[in-house]
Subunit: 246 residues, 2 copies
């Protein structure tokens, strides 16, 4: 399983992804699920991936290969807009599914993958897209500024409570870490290291790129502070009385 | 959708269920999902139901009808143990699925339902069972003292953090309400009123039975106190520095 979250805020963008993959509980491995395509000062495109690992790796390998060798076709380092980048990812996903899907379907294996693609290209505002397994996609809006893919439910309530379009990027990053903490506690198949990327609007380079491992001192502090804070908040709730006995 | 949670603690039992049902988003209704079978001072059996409403209603109608008219067969008011009660519910579920399942399968409708059954019969300790759609079941143990059915993920992290086997029943009830608050905020298909039942070990009658509606003053206080407490806990997190720029 996987958990990825990304937010498109007034102040910039936030991306976070775990790095645990598993095929059953006895084949657990670590793979990066956050991928960057950059021309510093001109564009930053970040892709988060969830689903069938062969599919996501093939989509990203094709996108990378085609970006590295300019064959005159549009690629992630040359497309004019983030919208075109999302189209390109969707097309590449369809290409891989068309090639590998039928064989996997014969073996009852789900080839499906989801992606989040976001970033900024000079001349545009920061944008964020959620690309479905069929290659179509939606874009984040101020009223719904974040997307999750993978094991999203455990970590959703805290984001709904804390983050809105006006949240500062670093605060959104703290909230994402809390969201990961909740998910990791409840689901064995989501695990560190967590890749975190913060982006301030119009910078066209990341403001923070950090891989947070098992023994990360800051993450340990945040987890402890959050656990203590929750216990304090719980202890301060008004007591439940049993006056309403039937 | 539905959200139900029940806990089997050293001090007693806790049951909570929402009451929203829907067939699509345009057919939303309120149905009680908590059902009691009682002989005050001798037994209290509580059943929570999730899944296909026709299936759950039929199972409970058969259990109720057979408990009301003693035909010499074991029923929920006469079985000797909670284990036998769980067996009886499982059998009744299989009976309904056998009768209605094939027709529903032809229409691609899921007849599946899940149940939580718990309580105490004089002479036994309090017990709690999770009954699967196939009619088989598992029992709660001190290491895993709670079960959820329905839309369980949003509300799971807070229970994992707060509740253990030693938690007092009223504290577990507060935590269940917080768990419902998180679920209701994130999923439109789970909604109040919430049915809450607290049971103290060996009492053989409930200590608290309360239906918590939209305008319940206590629930509003708890929701507000929890939201404020979470915001305070979040504000107190150690700040994230961007010293690790790539």
């Amino acid at each position: 399983m996987t958990y990825c979250v990304a937010m498109c805020l007034e102040a910039g963008l936030l991306f976070a992804s775990d790095s645990r993959t598993n095929a059953g509980v006895d084949h657990v491995a670590t793979f990066r699920k956050m991928h960057r395509f950059e021309v510093p000062g001109e564009r930053l495109i970040v892709v988060l991936a969830a689903g069938n690992l062969a599919t996501t790796q093939n989509v990203l390998a094709l996108l990378r290969q085609r970006a590295n060798v300019d064959a005159g076709q549009p690629n992630l380092l040359t497309v004019a807009s983030l919208y075109d980048a999302a189209c390109l990812l969707g097309e590449t996903l369809r290409e891989v599914i068309q090639r590998d899907g039928p064989t996997l379907a014969q073996a009852n294996i789900d080839a499906g993958s989801s992606f989040i693609l976001g970033g900024q290209i000079a001349g545009e505002s920061p944008r964020l897209f959620n690309i479905y397994p069929q290659g179509n996609f939606i874009e984040a809006m101020p009223e719904t500024p974040y997307f999750q893919i993978g094991e999203s439910k455990y970590g959703k309530p805290i984001i709904d409570r804390i983050v809105d379009y006006q949240s500062p990027v670093m605060e959104a990053a703290q909230c994402a870490l809390i969201s990961f903490d909740s998910t990791i506690r409840s689901n064995l198949s989501v695990g560190p290291p967590i890749d975190l990327l913060c982006y301030e609007r119009d910078a066209l380079v990341p403001s923070l790129v950090r891989r947070i491992g098992e023994d990360d001192v800051y993450f340990a502090q945040v987890r402890k502070a959050w656990a203590d804070g929750l216990r304090a908040a719980f202890a301060a709730l008004p007591p439940l009385s049993n006056e309403d006995v039937p």
